[in-house]
């Protein structure tokens, strides 16, 4: 996972495989609660899967700010950039 498009893909894959959502209902502007019907336990589950599969940690402060799929993509991409820069 290196580019923003790949981050989007990774997020969609988790949402489809893990939360039984249809890929076509997931848009960058989709809201987790109102549009995708995900709740607080889902949020933690999502964070755990992102960490297990991509090594990126979403903590409580991150989760508090995330309202849409696009928000998650932005935060993950930022974290990815930081970790790549750190590794270089």
């Amino acid at each position: 996972m290196e580019t923003k498009d790949e981050v989007v893909q990774a997020v969609v894959v988790i949402l489809v495989e893990r939360f039984a959502l249809r890929a076509e209902e997931i848009q960058l502007e989709s809201r987790f609660g109102d549009d995708l019907d995900l709740d607080s336990i889902d949020a933690i589950d999502f964070a755990v899967h992102v960490e297990e599969e991509h090594g990126l940690v979403l903590d409580e402060d991150d989760l508090k700010e995330l309202r849409t799929v696009g928000d998650v993509v932005d935060v993950l991409y930022r974290k990815l950039e930081v970790s790549t820069r750190g590794a270089a």
Binding site: E17, D37, I41, A43
Partner: protein
């Protein structure tokens, strides 16, 4: 990940009901302090009679539940004859007695009670090792018996509940019994904060307690149907999914009244750890199997003390399953 719930009439009804409950809590405690337990027990009889006579739906639900109990061999043995309106009245009266005991316990008067513990050692061992535990309860007997356990084993108990008034409830509990290490943590399906707070409790080696028998409106899709007293009934899956997130041992804990200020406190290890597969169909089936184990354990205790089941509504008609199943 912030998720926002709808603001339908059910939610506002819930808020109103909760405000009423807060007022009732303060009034009930003040009255109890004023007149004492003995007079409260006497006054409970006319109050129960009034509620019994006027609550037609509750009466019907009680009798339906008692008939289901009586349809089982253990239930027949405990109840004796087929349930009548008189059995149902005793069911209501049991609830009133439990409330009087509850007020006593809230005032920190555990020393006036006699508790007989069953299966406490494994729980005490985990507490001693500073390992957090999730305790599942039910509206059977008194969950407040947990307070006795908390005091005895010197462990902080965090009651996870759906409420918008956690701070106020905590203040009332602190006023009533300043030494009690029991606090309320609000469960908010729309915020990950509550789950993080509960994880923090487990990491500190504390107990997290949650009632796991009623489907709450906030549990919109976290429910499944499992057998209970001979028919499928809806139970929440949220507590078991929370257990998976918390990654700690799970116990069933019930306080069954055996006499005036006397309780059997039963702790039973349900799961060493709840583990759920990733993919939704397998996950739903696995969650349902955990819930079925909880419901089967609960049923055994219900049949020991059927008149202490305090769900006065049609339990088998709770909202049906959502996406999870």
């Amino acid at each position: 990940m912030s998720v926002k719930a709808g603001s339908g009439s059910a939610a506002s009804w819930d808020r109103r009901a909760e405000r009423g409950a807060m007022l009732g809590l303060r009034f009930g405690v003040a009255f109890f302090r004023l007149v004492g337990a003995r007079l409260c027990l006497l006054l409970a009889i006319p109050v129960v009679t009034y509620f019994f006579l006027t609550d037609r739906d509750g009466r019907r639900a009680s009798l339906d539940y008692l008939r289901r109990v009586h349809a089982t061999p253990d239930g027949r043995r405990v109840l004796g004859r087929p349930p009548t309106r008189w059995t149902s009245y005793r069911h209501y009266r049991g609830f009133a007695l439990a409330i009087v005991d509850r007020l006593d316990l809230w005032l920190g008067r555990e020393s006036r009670f006699s508790f007989e513990f069953h299966g406490r050692e494994p729980l005490a061992k985990l507490v001693k090792e500073k390992r957090g535990v999730l305790v599942l309860g039910a509206h059977l007997g008194s969950f407040d018996a947990l307070r006795a356990l908390a005091r005895l084993d010197r462990v902080v108990v965090n009651l996870a509940m759906y409420t918008n008034h956690a701070a106020r409830i905590n203040r009332v509990f602190r006023d009533l019994s300043p030494e009690a290490e029991v606090r309320v943590i609000p469960l908010d399906p729309t915020s990950a904060h509550s789950v993080f707070a509960l994880r923090g409790c487990i990491e500190r080696g504390e107990m997290v307690a949650i009632l796991a028998d009623r489907v709450h409106p906030g549990d919109r899709r976290r429910r499944c149907e499992v057998p209970f007293l001979g028919a499928p009934a809806s139970f929440p899956t949220g507590p078991h999914e929370l257990a998976a997130v918390l990654g700690c041992p799970v116990f069933l804990l019930l306080g069954l009244r055996t006499g005036r200020r006397r309780y059997d406190v039963v702790a039973e290890r349900l799961f060493e750890r709840v583990e759920l597969p990733r993919r939704p169909p397998e996950r739903a089936a696995r969650v349902a199997s955990y819930v079925a184990d909880y419901a089967a354990a609960l049923e055994r205790h219900v049949l020991r003390a059927p008149l202490q089941w305090y769900n006065f509504f049609d339990f088998w008609e709770q909202p049906r399953s959502g996406r999870m199943s």
